[in-house]
Symmetry: C2
Subunit: 444 residues, 2 copies
Amino acid sequence: MVVVGAGPGGEVAAGRLAEAGLSVAIVEADLVGGECSFYACMPSKSLLRPGALLTEARRVPGVREAVTGQLDVPAVLRHRDEVINNLDDGGQVPWLVERGVKLFRGWGRLDGDKRVVVGDEVLEARRAVILAGGTTPTIPAIDGLAEANPWTNREATTAKEIPASLIVIGGGVVGAEMTQAYASFGTRVTLVEGEHRLLSREEEFACVQVTESLTEQGVDIRTGQTAKSVRRDGDQVSVTLADGSTVTADRVLVAAGRTPQSAGLGLDTDGYVQVDDRMRVPGKDWLYVIGDLNGRALFTHMAKYQAAIAATDILGGDMVEKHLADGPGSPRVIFTEPQVAAVGYTAAAAEKAGLKVRVVDVGTEANAGGAFTGTSRGTCRFVLDEDKGVLVGATFVGTEVADFLQAATIAVVGEVPLHRLRHAIPSFPTRSEIWLYLFNSLGI
Amino acid sequence: MVVVGAGPGGEVAAGRLAEAGLSVAIVEADLVGGECSFYACMPSKSLLRPGALLTEARRVPGVREAVTGQLDVPAVLRHRDEVINNLDDGGQVPWLVERGVKLFRGWGRLDGDKRVVVGDEVLEARRAVILAGGTTPTIPAIDGLAEANPWTNREATTAKEIPASLIVIGGGVVGAEMTQAYASFGTRVTLVEGEHRLLSREEEFACVQVTESLTEQGVDIRTGQTAKSVRRDGDQVSVTLADGSTVTADRVLVAAGRTPQSAGLGLDTDGYVQVDDRMRVPGKDWLYVIGDLNGRALFTHMAKYQAAIAATDILGGDMVEKHLADGPGSPRVIFTEPQVAAVGYTAAAAEKAGLKVRVVDVGTEANAGGAFTGTSRGTCRFVLDEDKGVLVGATFVGTEVADFLQAATIAVVGEVPLHRLRHAIPSFPTRSEIWLYLFNSLGI
C-alpha cells in the first residue's frame, strides 16, 4: 500500500491497513498530521474556546464576580503552541511507526499504475494507492491580493502576534471562526462577504444569530460586498469594496474557500477527484482518493470516515452505507459564540430534495436547563421527513452545543422512527430537553 | 379528570388532558411545581453550575488568568432565589390556568371510586383520577436524628446562609450533589455513607472519580460508616459513627432516600404504589399513579414521561413501548464535578440481567476535543449486547457531560444496530469522538 498525504485521513487509512498486516508506505511533503492538526481544526479551537468560556463565565451570576481580568492572550497562544507542538510533527510520527508504517518525506506523484514517485524514490504498491492530498487555501483573483501578502488560515491560526485590526475576506466557516477568535483577542475585525449572509450553507437563523453576536462583539460585518482590490502601504493593508468604500487594517485574511491539491499528483485533473462510494476512482480499481481531495465533505472527521471505508474495501470488506449524515449532510460544527452544530438537511435543502418536510424550532435555552447558562441566544431546528416519519436534519445554535450534535446524528443515521424516538427521554434539567419540545410539538 | 399533586408529572398530565378538551381539576397541598421546581432539581442545579463553571474557567489557560476572585456565594444564592421564584408558585399557576385546569389547594385524598376529597370539597371524576403525590425525604431511625432538627434536601437547596461545616448523611445523588455544592461554597463537608462507595447504583469508576474529586476539594468522605447517633449541642450537631468516631458540624443534612407520600391518600398502602405499564393501578381501571409515587424511576423527566403515557391512555391512545431507558435504566445525570450521566444498564446490571456483554471504556478527554477542556478526569463506558449487536447502556463521567447523554439514550431506545451506528460520525474536534473510539475498538 502506498498512501499519499499524512493528514488525518491518510494517517487513519495507513494505520488501519498496517494493523491488518499490510506493508504500508505513507508519503508527506509537509507535516505529518496535516493541515487539521497544525493549521486548522486544532489551533483554531485552541484560539476559540478560551474566549467562549470566558464569555460564559462573565454571564453567570456568582462566577462573573470572580472574573475581574481580561483574556490572557499570550497564555492562549502558548497553549495553542502546545496543541500544535510548535509546528513539529515529532509527536505524530510515532503513531505511524508503532504500526509499522514507513514514512517517506517529499511530494508524492503518481507515475503509472500503482506507482508513486517521491523525489528519487519509486514506490510500487502491490495492492492499492490512496491519495489523501487535501486542499490549500484559495486565493481569489482580486486585484493586488496576492501581492499584499495576505494571511490564510495558516497564518491566522499560528500567529505569534495579534494585529490591532484585521480584514477577513470570506464569511464561511474559516472566516467566521477566525473573526470570532480575533474579536475575542480585542482585534478590530472587518468581515467582508460577497453573499448576502454569512455561513450561507446553514440555516438562516444560524447566520442571523452569529451575525448579531459578532456585531455585538464589535465586528464590522459587510455582507453583499466583494473585495475589488487590495493594496499594501507599509504596515497597512487597504481593501476596496464593490461599493467603493475602503477598509484599512494591519492584516488581511483570505478565507475564500479551498482548492484541491490535485495538480502535480499525476492525475488528469487539477480539481476535486471524483470517486465512487467506496472512494475508488472510476476505471482505476487500485486508486482511492479520500478526504478533502475528493470534494465530498471537507471535514477531518469525514476524511477519517472515508479512510475507514477505503481501508475496509481494500481489505475485502464493505462498510458502504447510504445515509443522510454524509456528503453535504455531514455533521459539522462552527465554533463561533454561539456555536452552530448541524447534521443532515437544512429545511431549505430538504425541500429542494423534494421531501415533505415538517420543521420544529425551539429556543436552545427555552427549557429548565437553560436557566443555568448565562445566555438566551440560540435556536434549535429539527427537520422531519413527514412521509418516512424520521429526523432528516437538525441545527443547534447556542453556547457549547457542539456535543448536542451526536444525538441528532444518531437519530438521522439510525433512521429511528419518531414514535420510537419519542421514548428517548432527556434528563431533567438538561438543555437536551429541546428534544422533549420536539416530541410535544408533534403531539406524540 | 382529577389529578392529585401538581409537581412536574401532575402538571404535564393535567395540561395534556386539558389541552385535549377534558375538564381537569388539580389538587396541591404545597407549591404548584412540586419538589423539583422549588426544593430539588432546579435550586440544586442553580447552586451547582456556578462552581463547576468557575472550576473549568480556572483550569483553562488564558481564562484562568482572568479569574482572580472567588465564587460570589451571595450572588449564587440570589440567582437560586430567582430560579425558585422565592418559593412563590405564582409563576407556575398561569400555565395551568391558561389550559383551563382548575386548581384546588389542599390535601387530596381518595374517598371511593373516582372521588377525591380536598378539605370540604368533593371532586367527582367522570373519567379517571391520577395520583402524582411524589415523595418526601426519608428520616432514618438514627438515635437523636429527628430531634437534632436536620436539614433535608429542602433546607439544603433553599438555605439563605452557608454553614461553615456540614455533615451529609447519605452518598446517593442528593448527598453527592449537595456535598459538591457546599464544598464549592467553602463549607467543610463530611460525607457519611453506609455502603462502601458513593453512588452505588452507578458504575464503580464513576464513584471513584467523583470520590477523588470531592476529596481533592477537601471533603471528608467516610464510606462504610453508618451514623449511630446524633446530638445537638447548642449551635453544633455531632454525629457518632459506627466506628465510634464523632464528627461535629454546624448542620447535618439527611440524604438517605425518599419515602413515597402515599399515606393519607386513601390507598391501602403507605409504600410505593404498584402500577402496570399504562400507569394504572391493577384492578382499578380509573386510577393512575405517576411519578415518584409508583417507585418506577424517581426522576422528574420520567414523571413527565409517565404523565404522557397515562394521559395518552386516558385519551384512548397507546404510547407504551418497552425499552431499556426506563425504570432502573432511566436516563440520569448527577451534577457533581465531574458530572455522571448514565442510561440503560451498567456493566454489572447487564450481566446480572443475563446479557452477553461487551464493555468499551474510553477516557472522556482522551481525544482531540479533550485538549480544550482543562481536565483529564473522566471515563466513558459503553455497554453492548453482543447477541443483539446494540448498545444497552452508557455512562459518561467528566466535566459538562450532561448533554452527552441524549446520544446514548437515542441509540439505546432506537436499538440502532452497531454496524449502522458506526456511520454516526462525531464532528472533529468535539469530545463526542468518544463514539469514534467505540467504533474503532469494535473494529467496525
